[in-house]
Amino acid sequence: MHLEYKVQGGNFSKAGHASGEIKKVLKQLNVNPMVIKRIVVALYEAEVNIVAHAYEGDIIVDIDDSKVHVVLNDSGPGIPSIERAMEKGYSTASPLVREMGFGAGMGLPNIKKNTDELNIKSVVGVGTTVDFINYL
């Protein structure tokens, strides 16, 4: 099963839309509630990262009977050092983004914690791809 969503940078009021939709789908597929929780948390954080740090992006979700595969592609500034970005507490969030309650630097560590396989690729000045798999 294949699903696609668009994400607009800076649109915080819509952040969480895709993860909410995916949650509904996974509930209907009878996926274990604890597995749903992990996927939704990871997707939510990755979605907010596009909204907070990039210009725009797509979310592509593929579900089969053994796994959920999520790819988030964005065009944006990219991440110069993925290793540093993965550190707990590291954040370049703007004062405005912090004002909105984001920017604790916990998003990527949370994604790592809640996924079975995680792959991040980024080109500075072009964009970022976050690719993760959770097994059912």
Partner: protein, 452 residues
């Protein structure tokens, strides 16, 4: 008592098929999509209903009823206890005193009267322990049985967040039985009858969640009891009973407990109280997406203004709150510290677990569920997405799901019918005029014919 398999879930709400006209009001308001219209009447799904009573509030035909307790049944017992929630006081004028109400209950045939909230201190203790002993956030109050059931069916992962403690009704019931036992009374001679403000609490009495059995014998509906008590109060008005001495009294905390905000100040940390089922669902959706993880405690009530808005209460909920506040703030209010009855331990009031009962799965087998999900999305795209309800389902989404589950034929949708019936050009014209071309696509018809 009930085990939690869907077929045996007890419900206090049912439809009177003779009165129901199938108007769809209840179906559209139901927050768990538990209602469908079949053969012209509403049908409530056993596994989805949470007994919140919203359907009854929405019904204009008086066709949704709540199980009735029978006042005569109390006379089967030698000791007849009336267990009353504090909101019962809020139903009467302020000049009806606590004594008056107890006397009226005694004159109806009860031998003693206790208030449900007398065990509120135990709940405070249980909430605080639960908060301290786990790192769960937010901890969710288990006071309102409709909310507990909502979480079981719609937010299964959040069942972990519910405070694992017996209801106030059950704790007070236990203390009553202990007190009787101490006096050498045989418990089978004691009948405890709860005067309920809502359907959800009937379910809590008949089949407590995650618990074996309730110490409560039966229930009596507050609307019926309001009428009976009003007559008794009229009779005793201006009279004195020299032998009468009231045994119980409530503290300020206990009087306010069931109202919105009543519980919250006793919990630790950052906390919110939310009332009204739609508000609760909105917030729990956010919690479920983990967009909110820095709130420590949630006090949730299905009814606006908490139990003052219960479906079986007579008074206007805002006036009930005002009257209860007046009573709570009276100088003469009881200053007792600690619970009314102290000989009960935390272990006796703990509940082992609350089981999730998720309702949303399309199939047990995930590959079948994926197939059905894809079909469902295909069907949904064909539908007009007006949520008109004419098919007997609350939304076009629910309809596409019912079609996939073979519960409804696709032809139940008026728009699909019009598109199919090429002779019905007049019908098509009307629909086009109201909703535009896009709702009847020729392409759709072809597609359907190919699919079949």
């Amino acid at each position: 008592m009930e085990k939690q398999s869907p077929s045996s879930i007890f419900h206090a709400i049912y439809v009177d098929e003779d009165r129901c006209i199938g108007c769809t009001r209840c179906m559209k308001i139901c927050s768990t999509a538990a209602i469908r219209i079949c053969n012209g009447t509403a049908m409530i799904s056993n596994s989805r209903c949470i007994d919140c009573g919203e359907c009854m509030k929405a019904c204009n035909s008086n066709a949704i009823h709540i199980s009735q307790g029978d006042l005569q049944s109390i006379f089967k017992y030698k000791y007849r206890v009336a267990l009353i929630p504090a909101v019962l006081f809020g139903q009467f004028k302020l000049d009806v005193t606590h004594d008056d109400l107890h006397r009226a209950l005694l004159s109806l045939g009860f031998t003693s009267v206790y208030e449900e909230e007398l065990s509120a201190e135990f709940q405070i203790d249980a909430i605080r322990r639960f908060q301290q002993e786990s790192d769960i956030k937010p901890v969710i109050s288990s006071f309102c049985p409709a909310i507990v059931r909502l979480i079981q069916v719609k937010f299964p992962t959040l069942t972990e967040n519910l405070v694992l403690v017996k209801s106030l009704i059950d704790i007070t019931g236990l203390t009553i039985l202990k007190e009787a036992a101490n006096k050498g009374i045989d418990p089978s001679d004691v009948g405890i009858f709860y005067i309920t403000p809502c359907a959800a609490k009937i379910c809590a009495v008949v089949s407590p969640v995650g618990d074996e059995k309730s110490p409560i014998t039966g229930f009596l509906n507050m609307d019926m009891m309001f009428d009976r008590l009003s007559i008794e109060l009229q009779k005793i008005k201006g009279t004195v009973d020299p032998d009468f001495k009231r045994k119980t009294s409530l503290t300020r905390t206990e009087v306010k407990w069931s109202l919105t905000g009543g519980e919250i100040k006793h919990a630790f940390g950052r906390k919110l109280s939310i009332d009204g089922i739609a508000n609760v669902i909105e917030f729990l959706n956010k919690v479920d997406d983990e967009a909110i993880d820095d709130i420590d405690f949630l006090e949730l009530r299905a009814c606006d203004q908490g139990c003052a808005g219960g479906i079986l209460t007579q008074g206007n909920r805002f006036l009930t709150v005002e009257k209860l506040m007046m009573r709570a703030n009276k100088k003469a209010v009881n200053k007792r510290h600690g619970p009314y009855y102290s000989d009960i331990t935390y272990d006796e009031i703990k509940v082992p677990t609350v089981n999730p009962r998720p309702i949303e799965g399309l199939d047990k087998d995930i590959s079948v569920a994926i197939k059905k999900m894809e079909q469902k999305q295909e069907i949904y795209k064909m539908l007009p997405q007006l949520d008109c309800g004419c098919c007997g389902c609350p939304t076009c989404e629910a309809f596409s799901e019912d079609v996939v589950k073979s519960l409804k034929p696709l032809s139940s949708c008026m728009f699909i019918q019009v598109a199919f019936n090429s002779k019905n050009d007049k019908g098509k014209e009307i629909i086009k005029k109201i909703w535009g071309d896009s709702k009847i696509v020729e392409e759709l018809k072809n597609k359907l014919e190919n699919d079949n």
